[in-house]
């Protein structure tokens, strides 16, 4: 598939208190970012299990991004500190297995950072589009004919 036609599937996990509100603010301010991004609301970034991320790749996602409150501002005080450790280690492991490290990302977006949210999503979609289709973590059974 030529790059110009390729539309990546992007799953974005957003914490309810900061990043989801940041995404809402991006909308309120009419800040455009690609429609390839679909947001899943979670109470806190620390709710995101590595299993969910792998599951997304299995089912055909080309990129997974996780957004949470800035460290120190977590609604639940410490949740995103655990996220930070878990995801650093998970991403490092994926890289170790030779899976493109650009397909996964963690970003801290506060409820006031609508512009940042849109910018982050634009950049992430661009990066993933350049990488092309997810091949290394695909499940052939889940591919559409």
């Amino acid at each position: 598939m030529p790059i110009s036609e390729f539309k990546p599937k992007i799953v974005a996990f957003c914490c309810n208190w900061c990043s989801y509100a940041g995404a809402d603010l991006a909308g309120t301010n009419r800040l455009n970012y690609p429609a390839d991004v679909k947001i899943i609301r979670v109470p806190c970034s620390c709710r995101v299990n590595p299993i969910f991320i792998l599951r997304a790749f299995q089912r055909g996602a080309d990129g997974v991004i996780l957004c949470g409150c800035h460290p120190g501002d977590c609604h639940y005080t410490t949740g995103n500190y655990y996220t930070r450790r878990r995801m650093t280690l998970l991403f490092s492991m994926l890289d170790y297995l030779g899976i493109e490290k650009e397909r996964t990302r963690v970003e801290w977006v506060s409820a006031a950072e609508g512009a940042k949210f849109a910018a982050v999503m634009q950049d992430f979609v661009k990066t993933v589009t350049e990488l092309g289709e997810n091949k290394r973590l695909e499940d052939r059974r889940c591919k559409k004919p």
């Binding site: 120190g72 655990y82 450790r85 280690l89 492991m93 490290k101």
Partner: protein, 322 residues
């Protein structure tokens, strides 16, 4: 050492201090050693073994065969003490029902290395100091022990016992034997090379679950891969994705808890170097969050259930600055 251990075990049984002994026993072949429970002096006299083939980590076996109402004697190699300490930290074994004896270990022999030399029809093997003598149907052979030692023992992390009620032999020390060399080699490869390497390894996985069954950190009441309610249960590795998924998640679940005992790789019938996944996590944790050895002391806080406010950002992976 074996005789001293037998003597002590029988003493403790006779005094009523313990009613069961967990150790190793020989099966048909000298090199075919399995963990076993002994309940009488006769059984001990007949079957008890401790030699350079007693590789299995008795901590997991103890976990599976624990009894709360009676006291059990367990012999632990340095490796096994780390696993045992970790199990106690996680409340998976009842310390009060155990009598632990620390025993020395001088490295275990990997029978596959002897076989790989074309040695067949093995009748018996004896290991004495640095020499390993193999009697076969076709005559005797002698090896230098270091040449036939298991890879995990060549990169032994410690001869120190983290827990025991009683110690037999001399206490050893924590060692630096370059156990991360292979991880570093992989890290130095290009992503494509790494991907190729791991595909080559993991595609051999037959999902026999031997790694999980032998692993002293895998003690879940029910594994997420066995439980249909999790939505991710798998019985067979039907797709390359599932090979990856199983091993990534397994390594992630034991990250910060894995003591690097190497049982996973030892028992893998497909010879997949699974310990390299666990060691990657250990190495990352050491580098990013400070040196941490699981099973060093009871009550440790694993790095994955801990944090500091100035931890590295996940970006560090993408930016390659580690």
């Amino acid at each position: 050492m074996q005789e001293a251990m037998k003597k002590r075990a029988k003493e403790l049984l006779a005094s009523g201090e313990v009613t069961r002994v967990i150790g190793w026993k020989k099966n048909e072949f000298d090199y075919d050693i399995t963990p076993a429970v002994f309940e009488s002096a006769e059984e001990i006299d007949r079957d008890f073994r401790y030699d350079d083939f007693c590789g299995p980590n008795l901590s997991k076996f103890t976990f599976k065969n624990q009894k709360n109402d009676t006291k059990t004697l367990v012999f632990l190699k340095p490796c096994d003490t780390y696993s045992m300490t970790q199990l106690i930290t996680e409340h998976r074994v009842n310390r009060d029902a155990l009598y632990l004896i620390g025993i020395p270990c001088f490295g275990k022999i990997d029978i596959e290395k002897i076989r790989a030399d074309g040695t067949d029809g093995i009748l018996s093997i004896a290991s004495e100091g640095a020499d390993v003598t193999v009697k076969t149907l076709y005559g005797d052979k002698t090896y230098v022990k270091a040449d036939v030692m298991a890879e995990r023992c060549l990169a032994c992390k410690s001869k120190y016992h983290t827990i025991y009620d009683e110690l037999m032999g001399e206490e050893g020390e924590v060692m630096e034997t370059g156990r991360f060399n292979e991880v570093e080699k992989l890290e130095a490869m290009t992503p494509d090379e790494r991907f190729g390497f791991w595909r080559g390894e993991l595609s051999r996985c037959i999902r026999c679950n031997a790694c999980r069954n032998a692993c002293p950190a895998c003690t879940c009441e029910s594994c997420v891969f066995d439980n249909p309610d999790t939505g991710i249960s798998q019985k067979a590795a039907a797709d390359s994705f599932e090979e990856n998924m199983f091993h990534i998640i397994r390594a992630f679940h034991v990250a910060g808890r894995c003591t690097d005992c190497g049982e996973c790789s030892r028992v893998c019938p497909q010879h997949i170097p699974l310990h390299l996944l666990n060691r990657k996590f250990i190495r990352d944790i050491d580098k990013l969050y400070g040196e941490y050895q699981a099973g060093e002391e009871v009550g440790q806080r694993s790095p994955l259930v801990n944090f500091t406010t100035d931890d590295a950002e996940p970006d560090i992976v993408r930016k390659g600055g580690k």
